[in-house]
């Protein structure tokens, strides 16, 4: 008997606290946070539950985009509130008339606590989303002690980074080899996003912000020389033989949240780990940023110019028009809504009415300073693209290309064909 196996990995987390409200209503919140991040978000909800007596259930899924679409389309299991990292998805939900606008109190709380450019008012005056946690994608994490031991220095340009990668391979070729990079991308149906983050950073650095904006907006295809150059650089710098701990098998099979494990080994398996600011939540318990591990911004092409940042940001959106849900939305927009998480670390947002010194941890304050520097900052391009492309096809196709199933030519052709077929707007 032959048996065909299709293996699908799914990761989900559910947390719930507080007593049920008197009418038994449970407010459902859905998002991408899992494990430690889910704990931190759920901890932030406790105050609301204590104050109101309402019960909130948070469910987080690695397959967030796919799951959210299913929940919304089913019409019966849409959450009350969702935390969406992709502005492209938010736009689609607004266009499909699936969201309810924030109520006046929520909008006022938003205006009171955030800069005007983060309040996205639609043409009819409604506001459908509120900013929440922000992240910086362009960070390279490393262990200063390991760098010091081997005499490696933080690179100031992409060329220096390339030289450092070769040096790391050369220095540790014998004995216990240390791969230049830790890199893994398994993330259920979202597998591939870790690779797109890499490519976006390279496009922004090598081709500049204007080309990046055109590419994110779909005005410049994947077959464009600038995008091809970034993909080629990514291939050489990161995917080449001996460049990552565990090689291709590890890249494809290891969960993205566990990618950094070799960095922290007694004998390190890798020297550097490029991942967003939120990767701090994935490090081993007790890891102190600044001592055990530190970060630098992925360098640009010119040492005299501050390297640009690719940033991510989560948005809060509301699916049900209900007084209790409105109360929760207002709470989540307010500084109170994220105070506990911010205190624990791993949370930074554009809130303007909090005292940076007391509200955030030292590490998050360092992230905040990066935002305040006069740098070019661009939102994650794939998250801006239509979700079928940026949060679906691109993830699948870049994974197929990395795994060797398709060539670079086939990859870019598939992407551009999908753009050509996509409905305008």
């Amino acid at each position: 008997m032959k048996r065909a196996l299709l293996v699908i990995t799914c990761l989900a987390v559910v947390s719930c606290g507080g007593a049920p409200s008197s009418d038994g209503r449970v407010i459902e919140v859905f998002g991408p946070y899992r494990n430690v991040e889910a704990d931190n978000f759920a901890a932030s909800l406790r105050q609301f539950e204590d104050d109101t007596g309402l019960r909130v259930r948070y469910t987080g899924s690695a397959d967030f985009v796919k799951d959210l679409k299913q929940r919304v389309e089913s019409g019966i299991s849409a959450p009350d509130i969702a935390i969406v990292p992709q502005p492209g998805v938010v736009d689609e939900l607004v266009a499909a008339d699936q969201l309810v606008p924030l109520d006046d109190t929520s909008v006022q709380t938003l205006r009171d606590n955030y800069p005007a450019d983060l309040v996205q008012q639609r043409a009819n005056g409604d506001v459908f989303s509120a900013p929440s946690r922000e992240s910086i994608k362009s960070l390279v994490w490393y262990r200063p002690s390991v760098f010091e031991e081997h005499g490696w220095t933080v690179p100031m340009t992409l060329d220096e980074l390339s030289t450092l990668v070769e040096q790391i391979q050369r220095d540790t070729g014998d004995g216990d080899p240390i791969a230049p990079w830790c890199f893994a991308m398994e993330s259920g149906s979202a597998t591939g996003w870790a690779a797109t983050d890499w490519v976006e950073d390279l496009v922004l650095r090598q081709a500049g912000p204007e080309v990046y904006d055109e590419w994110a907006a779909g005005e410049r295809g994947f077959d464009d020389p600038a995008i091809r150059e970034a993909l080629t650089t990514f291939n050489e710098l990161v995917l080449g033989q001996g460049r990552t701990a565990g090689g291709l098998r590890n890249i494809l099979q290891t969960e993205v949240t566990r990618a950094s494990a070799p960095l922290f080994g007694d004998t390190p398996g890798c020297a550097m780990y490029k991942q967003a600011s939120f990767a701090e939540s994935w490090f081993p318990d007790g890891t102190v940023v600044g001592t055990d591990v530190d970060f630098f911004v992925l360098p640009g092409t010119d040492a005299n110019t501050l390297a640009p940042l690719v940033a991510g940001g989560d948005s809060l959106v509301q699916f049900s028009d209900d007084a209790n849900v409105n109360r929760l939305m207002t709470y989540l927009i307010s500084p109170e809504g994220s105070r506990v998480w911010a205190g624990r670390g791993g949370f930074y947002s554009g809130l303007t009415t909090v005292d940076l010194d007391t509200y955030y941890t030292d590490t998050d304050r360092r992230f905040a300073e990066l935002f305040r520097d006069k740098r070019d900052v661009r939102f994650d391009a794939s998250d801006l693209m239509p979700s079928d492309i940026g949060s679906g096809l691109l993830w699948r196709e870049i994974t197929a290309w990395i795994s060797g199933t398709t060539t670079l030519d086939e990859f870019v052709a598939t992407m551009d064909a999908a753009y050509a077929d996509a409905p305008a707007g």
Binding site: R3, A12, F30, D67
Partner: protein, 365 residues
């Protein structure tokens, strides 16, 4: 042979001298029956059987210690290799070779007969055996363990000895009582290997050594807790069994000392039972979680089959790793996580691996 003179020392039995027999309540009758049974004196053969457990000094004792040490080294070696090879049969073999039951029962006998020198001698032998067995486990893990055992994936036989519960205490109490009953009766000594298997003494010690060598401090402490559980429970229940079958101090002062000793032993058992109670609660919570997960999977999709389930409940949260096989498209994992939470009422972290089981049958002519 029973000594009738001893009975007068014990005070009146159901009748006071010269009085007519008194009518007794059912409870009183049982008490009298037990007292009659207890007041028997061990036969000289039974006495000798206990006396001969450990030689009392001289070259015979030295010879005994050498023999004991050799058997400990051999049984601990068999146990360590069996544990590393994850072979239950080999580990049982080690239990049959293990000589620790003898000095522990001797300690129990010395406790109830209030003979201090014998007690300390027996305990010293037990302590020596303990050190030796742990050292052998450590050494074998040093030589062979690293290459055959991954500390993150301990063999089942090792893992089974790193989480003792109240069930282990129950086994040790019952087996200790059996040992106390069997040892003085040479005719029943054929049952002794069964006692040795029931309360394994050397495998937990070998596990202490193996896990210590692998740097697994908590597992090592838990395996030692299992040994302490067995040790305390055997001394206590074997002591009670021996006391009930007539092994008691002859003098009144000795009897007071017996009470004190039994209380001390009982307190030791109670102290050991505290961490075991926590472990038992954890085990029961894990069991409740497993049931919740099984029910939740049925509610989620009754077409799928659970192939592997790892469920861990701690700090009001549930960590679940699940491998299921199904024929159709998987239903959303978040629904399963919520189903589990509805049943277990705690924060849930779920890792679900869904295998699509598809059969293709093709014929070409």
């Amino acid at each position: 042979m029973p000594d009738p003179s001893d009975q007068t020392e014990e005070g009146p039995v159901p009748t006071a001298a010269g009085d007519a027999p008194r009518r007794l309540t059912p409870l009183g009758s049982i008490a009298v029956w037990i007292r009659d049974a207890v007041q028997r004196e061990p036969s000289s053969d039974e006495h000798d059987a206990i006396e001969e457990l450990i030689p009392q000094g001289g070259p015979e004792f030295t010879e005994y210690v050498v023999r004991f040490s050799l058997l400990i080294v051999l049984s601990a070696s068999i146990a360590a290799f069996g544990l590393l090879a994850d072979s239950a049969a080999v580990v049982i073999g080690a239990m049959l070779v293990a000589p620790l039951m003898t000095p522990i029962t001797a300690a129990a006998a010395a406790t109830v007969t209030a003979r201090n020198e014998r007690l300390w001698r027996a305990l010293a032998v037990v302590a020596w055996g303990t050190v030796l067995a742990v050292a052998v486990g450590w050494l074998i893990a040093l030589i062979a363990g690293g290459s055959v055992v991954d500390p993150r994936e301990l063999p089942g036989e090792v893992r089974a000895r790193t989480f003792p519960t109240l069930l282990d205490l129950g086994v040790a109490v019952a087996a200790g009582a059996a040992a106390g009953y069997i040892l003085p009766r040479r005719s029943t000594s054929g049952a002794l290997p069964g006692v040795g298997i029931a309360v394994a003494l050397v495998p937990p010690l070998a596990t202490v050594g193996i896990t210590a060598q692998l740097g697994l401090g908590t597992d090592s402490r838990n395996a030692f807790l299992l040994f302490l559980t067995n040790l305390a429970a055997i001394i206590f229940s074997a002591g009670v069994a021996l006391a009930l079958t007539g092994f008691r101090p002859k003098q009144f002062r000795g009897r007071r000392a017996l009470r004190t000793r039994m209380v001390i032993t009982l307190v030791t058992v109670a102290v050991v039972a505290i961490p075991l109670t926590f472990h038992t609660r954890t085990t029961l919570e894990d069991l409740r979680l497993r049931r919740a997960v099984t029910d939740a999977v049925s509610a989620w999709d009754n077409e799928v089959r659970i192939v592997e389930l790892t469920a861990d409940a701690y700090d009001n949260r549930a960590s679940v790793e699940l491998l299921v096989v199904g024929r159709g498209e998987p239903r959303p994992a978040w629904q399963l996580a919520e189903e589990i939470q509805d049943r277990f009422d705690a924060a849930v972290d779920l890792r679900l691996l869904y295998q699509r089981d598809e059969l293709y049958s093709v014929s070409v002519r």
